[in-house]
Symmetry: C2
Subunit: 174 residues, 2 copies
Amino acid sequence: MESGMNDAIDRDLSRDVANALCDAEETLAVAESCTGGLIGAEITAVPGASDYFDSGLTTYAYDAKRRHLGVSREALDEHGAVSEPVARQMARGIRDVTDVTWGVSTTGIAGPAGGTAANPVGTVYIGVSYGGPWGSEESYATVSRYVFDGDRAAVRAQTVEQALTDLLAEIDSR
Amino acid sequence: MESGMNDAIDRDLSRDVANALCDAEETLAVAESCTGGLIGAEITAVPGASDYFDSGLTTYAYDAKRRHLGVSREALDEHGAVSEPVARQMARGIRDVTDVTWGVSTTGIAGPAGGTAANPVGTVYIGVSYGGPWGSEESYATVSRYVFDGDRAAVRAQTVEQALTDLLAEIDSR
């Protein structure tokens, strides 16, 4: 299994997400890239997660982001897979292909290779989406950029923690 | 993060899978239920996984198995989500919606609730699929049933390890 860092923090966050979604009678699906499935794994580590967790699409390959989530070729070609537009389209896309209230997306460079001057290793974009069908006034998506320190496992663990934190903040703000 | 049990074993298995797929120039996608994304997370813990890992679809909700993987309502209604037919359809389905060589599926009861006399807590079906487009003579899917001991985290960790072991055995047998 993945590095055990932040054990207590992550598990508490998953339970907080569970409580927040159950209280609001809302649901969640996730679109992961650099985290590879870790967010879904953390969410479903809590018994009873099927009450609010629909699905997780880990679109690791370039084409998988287009195929499963409808990310546009333009966004991928012009901005790269690790970019604000792609994180936003992933967050919107996961809600387009499910019927959930909340979507979360991650795309980043966990390392050790793949870093650039503009996007060093540890750069991650996290998206959170909410709402009814896309186009309705209630729908929105927010994207934040982070640069995490540490090795591949550390970057991924911090991304999971930050994604759950960002989701909780959005739920709490409503 | 998930329980740290079997740390070394799992990471070695992920590296073995990486080596086997790279040697054969083959690719992988996974369809997870009870493991919630852990298999994808383990696969992508290895740097360079994008060379052979396309995507992982964690279909946790009943409807998600139909929507994302094309699992039939008949199989779900007649046999239940934790069954040989559903594991087989998930393993086939993940290859239908990608263009990979190998598919892996998991569906089981991680507990603590959900067990029945026929399928006690710890029951997991693991599927492995291989081949060209479905209908071609080269295509097949195998499904095995396991009953693992321990708590939710232990059942999930053993499922990850067994799924990677089953995949490796199928790759080696070709």
